[in-house]
């Protein structure tokens, strides 16, 4: 398993547990990895872990996705152009604190929407120019499906992100760039570690990543696991007057 012949996969926001789990799935298939995030020293750990476990070459790339001016240089530095980009950038924020702080709202919008969409747009253009089949996987959130009192600033940014991906998918329907939206529900991660999550609705990052790969293999457009699809269909269907009184 040297990864020879397999094309590279870029993981942006590589330190998150979901990104790690998806990266592991690609590496296990023999794809060399490009890991990008802020603070490459701590990415070195991810890189050694992946390369030792799966025997694939792994490179690390410094990237602050909210630094828009630096994005072109980052994309230029990728050699070769990856066959797939997974964008797992995002920050949950703290709803109660952020709601009182315009700067925090701006930061949430930049980290979850402005930064990722700018980067994905540029990447999609480059991938389309390359002409062969490539893919972009954007990690959204079920929080974007309906604004909830608990996390509506984050949710609003993720809703925007989902709408963006949907539009991009339509734009690239004939270019060979496949765009897939992934919406994790409750996944046991550092973000949710310790929360008393409802067991039936919670999956491990590893199980979730396997589901993502199955969806990727069949070129699905939107992936969330079945239980959440059912739940969110119900939640979305609730009339606003009823929804506003629920605790969900």
């Amino acid at each position: 398993m040297t990864g020879a012949g397999k094309a590279s996969v870029l993981i942006v926001g590589a330190r998150s547990d979901i990104a790690r789990a998806i990266a592991a799935q690609f590496a296990a298939r023999g794809h060399p990895l490009m890991l990008a995030a802020r603070g490459t020293d701590s990415l070195a750990r991810e890189a050694s872990d992946m390369s030792i476990r799966y025997g694939v070459p792994v490179t690390t790339h410094e990237l602050d996705v909210t630094d828009l001016a630096a994005q072109a240089a980052f994309l230029d530095s990728l050699d070769p152009l990856p066959v797939c980009m997974v964008c797992a950038v995002g920050t949950l924020g703290n709803q109660d604190r952020d709601a009182k702080d315009p700067q925090a709202i701006r930061a949430i919008a930049e980290a979850n929407f402005v930064g990722p969409t700018t980067l994905i747009e540029a990447m999609a253009t480059r991938m389309a120019a390359a002409g062969d089949a490539r893919a972009i996987i954007g990690i959204g959130s079920v929080a974007g499906d309906r604004g909830r009192a608990k996390n509506y600033i984050y949710g609003a940014a993720k809703a925007g992100f989902a709408a963006y991906l949907s539009g991009l998918r339509q734009k690239h329907v004939n270019t060979g760039v496949h765009v897939m939206t992934v919406k994790p529900g409750f996944v046991r991660t550092a973000m949710t570690d310790g929360m008393d999550l409802p067991g039936a609705l919670t999956s491990s990052p590893q199980d979730f990543a396997k589901g993502v790969m199955r969806a990727y293999d069949r070129r699905a457009t939107v992936y969330y696991d079945l239980r959440w699809r059912v739940l969110m269909t119900v939640i979305r269907a609730l009339p606003e007057r009823i929804f506003m009184r629920t605790k969900f």
Binding site: S48, I52, R53, D193
Partner: protein, 444 residues
């Protein structure tokens, strides 16, 4: 980023609401209150529980380096042995020492100074640790090894996480040429025969006995002594010979619910034991089994701890010095069989020399007996009687399995080393920084 959740050890008793947060790779902030690190929660009792703050460490599981020449692996403390084996067995490496489950972390194995079926030849887990990085009470991160911060190193091996948070572990793996074991079984009709079988086979790498703790009279202590070595490709048959690291697919079963409390009683267990012994006694030929089935038979049943019902269970594991082992074990078996309590999972094992330089390391040269019991008031009374016998014979209990021993029993078992450990905790500030229900109970 902290949340409350209900935690318990593998025995599911005691259960307590604990504040939890992810264990971070950063210095301990002395201003924060006392905490304990937790891995996969496989200690049976209260070792990895602190209601005020329990730090969840199992997702810190990155492999940091591996030297294929020397077998030295460096990884974060949360790496599970199961993951380690999945990665390295196909490359011809195995863990030097493994407990009876692979769902333990490196940090947990260090904290317990875990032992395995090869203790009599390979010592305990700590004998294969080259160094470890510890987040200490004074806010420093210290590299500890047999040459560097030696006292801290020794106290950490077996120290139940009470000397600092174990962040990184360097472990020397051992080479193997297949994923299989050659196993043979020696039926032993009595305790004396079982012990003789151990003494006659001290050069065999792996040995362990299943013991029928309910057999009485002349059959007291009858056992199936199982001996094993790693298989070489030439020992394997057919296609395996060319593919010595390929494993059969393993069926994962799950214990779907708590067993009702009446399911396990002296009659059902005695009947099981009789059948199991007879079946084992017929199987005297060597057989080939994969490492998974040999080392981790119970791991195949997820949540097997529910077998003992909702009230939970406790494991009683003691070690007795060689000189008093026979008398002590007989006395223990007498009390257990006359109480009619017992379990399917009763294990006898010969220990090699212990590690007296590590104050809380459990193994001592002699024998160890481990038995699971469903929890009940009678069980706890029985355990108190067993404690008396163990102490009288100069033995001790294993902290990783314990949820109920008294400080008196602990001090009697570990002697002056217990106070050495307390002094180190006091002097390094660990006593105020790293605390668990276990350390409170035993005034560590």
């Amino acid at each position: 980023m902290s949340f409350e959740q209900t935690l318990s050890g593998w025995g599911r008793w005691p259960r307590r609401a604990c504040m939890t947060a992810p264990l971070q790779d950063r210095p301990v902030d002395p201003a924060q209150g006392a905490a304990i690190a937790r891995g996969l929660g496989r200690a049976y009792g209260d070792a990895a529980m602190n209601p005020d703050m329990t730090l969840m460490g199992a997702s810190r599981d990155r492999i940091l380096s591996f030297d294929a020449k020397t077998g030295v692996l460096v990884a974060e403390g949360g790496l599970a042995l199961a993951d380690l084996l999945a990665v390295f067995v196909p490359r011809g490496w195995f863990v030097p020492v493994t407990p009876g489950t692979q769902f333990v972390t490196l940090g947990g194995a260090v904290a317990a100074d875990a032992h395995g079926k090869n203790h009599h030849v390979a010592g305990s887990f700590g004998d294969h640790v080259l160094w470890l990085d510890l987040a200490c009470a004074d806010g420093t991160r210290r590299r500890c090894s047999p040459d560097e911060n030696t006292d801290l190193f020794n106290a950490t091996l077996g120290g139940m996480g009470l000397t600092g948070h174990i962040l990184t572990v360097a472990l020397r793996l051992v080479p193997v040429t297949s994923a299989y074991m050659i196993q043979r079984t020696i039926p032993a009709g009595s305790l004396a025969e079982a012990m003789q079988a151990f003494e006659d086979n001290l050069d065999v790498t792996y040995s362990v006995a299943w013991i029928d703790c309910l057999a009485q009279g002349a059959a007291r202590g009858r056992s199936l002594v199982m001996l094993a070595e790693h298989a070489a490709p030439d020992d394997l048959i057919g296609a395996l010979r060319d593919n010595p690291f390929s494993l059969p697919p393993r069926q994962q079963r799950r214990m779907p619910m708590d067993a009702p409390s009446w399911a396990l009683n002296r009659h059902s267990i005695a009947a099981f034991n009789r059948l199991y012994y007879k079946a084992g006694a017929r199987k005297t030929q060597a057989e080939t089994v994969d490492y998974d089935r040999f080392f981790y038979p119970l791991d195949a049943i997820q949540d097997w701890n529910r077998l003992y019902g909702r009230r939970g269970f406790a494991q009683y594991q003691c070690a007795l010095p060689l000189a008093t082992s026979y008398d002590g074990l007989l006395a223990l078996l007498d009390v257990i069989s006359s109480a009619g309590a017992g379990s399917f999972l009763a294990v006898l094992k010969r220990f090699g020399d212990g590690a007296p330089q590590r104050p809380l390391s459990f193994p001592i040269a002699g024998y160890t007996l481990a038995l699971d019991f469903a929890l009940s008031p009678e069980t706890l009374t029985l355990f108190d009687r067993l404690d008396e016998i163990v102490v009288r014979h100069g033995g001790r209990l294993y902290l990783s399995k314990d949820s109920r021993m008294t400080r008196t029993t602990f001090d009697a078992g570990y002697g002056a080393a217990a106070d050495r450990f307390r002094a180190l905790r006091r002097d390094t500030g660990a006593a105020d920084t790293f605390r668990s229900l276990l350390s409170n109970r035993l005034a560590l």
